[in-house]
């Protein structure tokens, strides 16, 4: 069992080794002459004009939350759809469709609820 993890260990060593060498060698061998331009966050980009840590509307939070909720709920349907194709007789088809229909019903109910409650209004 332990041997089956050997490639993983090799990969781990190669990956950390490569990263370490790529960062370490220039630090050791390369010349280091810093000046003002070189120390800016984006040496050849837009000049930063404000702190990145600032306040932004809490509305994004609500939308992101709702997005994640419905996104995750759709993920539940993928394995169901994959298994669904293997069912042949009507009885097991019914047994598979009814609970998922119920699940979707609850999901749609949630969508209507957030709509009615104004969670989707931006202003």
């Amino acid at each position: 069992m332990a041997t089956s993890y050997l490639p993983l260990l090799v990969l781990l060593i190669v990956a950390t080794g490569f990263g370490g060498i790529a960062l370490g060698l220039p630090m050791l061998l390369g010349p280091s002459r810093a000046n003002k331009q070189k120390l800016e966050p984006y040496e050849s980009g837009i000049i930063p004009f404000a702190d990145a840590r600032r306040r932004f509307p809490v509305k994004y939070y609500l939308v992101a939350m709702l997005f994640i909720l419905f996104d995750i709920e759709v993920i539940f349907l993928y394995p169901w759809a994959a298994v669904m194709r293997q069912l042949r007789d009507n009885y097991s088809m019914l047994f598979a469709i009814v609970p998922v229909g119920f699940f979707l019903l609850i999901l749609i109910l949630g969508l209507i609820y957030e709509w009615r409650k104004g969670a989707l209004d931006w202003e």
């Binding site: 609850i106 109910l109 209507i112 609820y113 009615r116 409650k117």
Partner: protein, 485 residues
């Protein structure tokens, strides 16, 4: 084990969840400007509780197991469901006029209350650590929101935040414990755990830390000392009907799951967890009672008293007998009426938008509102364990179970603690009847019909259980069974 999907085992939970959806649908019909039908919401929720209760009573004749041994509906589970449904029903009556004052989203409140109740009843039915965890999360997530319902009050937000952080932390303890027990026993299902541990070749280095972590997780939920720190703050900050509901519901649900784990899955380890529980019981009773002596706020006093009561319940469990399990459940049944009743009186004494009442608020109400004072006196006497009220028989059976299990000295400590407790319960009663109404005493109290009904029901049952205990103990005897009941 064959695939077994007997849905009737969790039918009461399904009914509660279904009614939660119906409440949300009814809530959607109206808008905030034209709240059509929103006054019906509490009654719809109450119908849901009643239907679930009827199904429970009907199920008493046919215990069953289902979901690959993940859930049972034996008498223990049904007894817990009755307790939770009583707490939910009374909680709804207490909320009917209170909640619209503090939050416009009334539909959300009742939906969350019903979902929370479904999680709580599931705790008693679960016979698998993972099912317990899911049930625990269902009830906790709903409660975190309910505690913070009063968004204008910083105290309410603080309560919600504190309960959320500590609750999430304790859930993590619980899962870690469950994982370690799974490592030791190779299963999360109670019967399988007991079978594996009886073999005697399990890894004890995994098992004992696992049990200890489970104790921590449950200890947080039922607020045992030293895991009780959150209780007074959360109970005081949360809206009073929510406090009433959670003080009984969470405690009953977590204790039920706790008892089932200990008695069904870990009976062989009783000599070790018995001592841990005994020490925690002593600490919990003593610290709860001593701290309650010094509170000026009624809600904080009741919060510390609820800590002490968790200690009394624990005394019944220490011996690990099925008799003790029945006694603990009966105790929680009596506690549901008397504690929610006491909180109902607190609501009556609150000023609008204050969320709390000081003890001197009760001074002199004996002359002003004799019926209210009588009800409060009943609850206070019952909480202190004076016969012939419900609380006395609750304590009697719990202590008797401890004595029968060979823990007589623990029962003695419990009785001494009841004597300490009597002091602060009776102080309220004395100030109601023998003090003059002070400046703090209200000249007017709220006269809400639903609240009065809830108060009356709680008072009547507190007396009724005390007078005819035999009628009710039948519901809570011989409850705990293995699978297939």
């Amino acid at each position: 084990m064959s695939a077994n999907l007997n849905v009737s085992v969790i039918l009461p939970e399904l009914i509660l969840v279904g009614f939660a959806m119906l409440v949300m649908i009814l809530d959607m019909v109206g808008t905030d400007e034209r709240p059509t039908g929103r006054t019906l919401l509490p009654w719809l929720a109450l119908v849901g509780v009643a239907v679930a209760g009827l199904v429970c009573i009907q199920q008493y004749s046919q215990p069953a197991a289902s979901f690959q041994g993940g859930a049972v509906s034996d008498h223990f589970a049904l007894g817990l469901r009755l307790i939770i449904l009583v707490a939910t029903g009374l909680g709804i009556l207490l909320s009917a006029s209170y909640i619209p004052r503090i939050n416009k989203q009334v539909g959300e409140y009742y939906a969350l209350l019903l979902l929370c109740a479904a999680g709580m009843t599931m705790m008693g039915a679960a016979t698998d650590l993972m099912v317990v965890f899911v049930a625990l999360e269902i009830l906790s997530l709903a409660l975190y929101i309910l505690c913070g319902l009063n968004r204008e009050s910083p105290r309410s937000s603080e309560a919600s935040m504190k309960y959320f952080l500590l609750g999430a932390f304790s859930s993590a303890f619980f899962v870690y414990g469950a994982a370690l027990i799974y490592g030791a026993a190779g299963s999360t299902q109670y019967d399988e755990i007991a079978k594996a541990l009886a073999g005697g070749n399990s890894n004890l280095a995994l098992l004992y830390p696992g049990i200890a972590l489970l104790l921590v997780g449950f200890g947080f939920k039922v607020s045992l000392v030293p895991f009780h720190m959150w209780t007074p703050d959360v109970y005081q900050g949360a809206p009073t009907p929510v406090t009433a509901f959670m003080s009984v519901g969470t405690k009953a649900a977590a204790f039920a799951a706790f008892i089932r784990v200990l008695v069904i899955a870990l009976p062989a380890q009783q000599p070790s967890w018995g001592w841990a529980l005994a020490i925690m019981a002593i600490l919990t009773m003593t610290l709860g009672n001593l701290a309650a002596l010094r509170q000026s706020s009624l809600k904080r006093m009741l919060a510390y008293s609820s800590i002490a009561h968790a200690g009394y319940v624990l005394v019944g469990i220490v011996a690990g007998t099925s008799e003790g399990a029945d006694a603990a459940l009966f105790y929680l049944f009596t506690y549901a009426f008397m504690n929610i009743g006491a909180f109902a009186v607190v609501i009556m004494l609150e000023k609008a938008n204050e969320g709390d009442a000081l003890q001197n608020r009760a001074a002199g109400i004996g002359q002003r509102w004799p019926w209210l004072a009588l009800a409060m006196a009943i609850f206070m006497f019952s909480l202190s364990g004076v016969p012939p009220l419900a609380g006395f028989f609750g304590k009697l059976f719990v202590f008797k179970a401890a004595v029968d299990g060979g823990w007589a000295w623990l029962a003695v400590i419990g009785m001494l603690n009841s004597a300490i407790g009597a002091y602060y319960y009776l102080r309220v009663t004395v100030s109601m009847y023998f003090e003059k109404p002070g400046a703090e005493t209200l000249s007017q109290r709220s006269t809400w019909s639903a609240l009065s009904i809830g108060l009356a029901v709680a008072a009547i049952f507190t007396v009724l259980i005390g007078i005819l205990p035999g009628m009710w103990t039948a519901l809570f005897t011989g409850g705990l069974t293995g699978l297939g009941g």
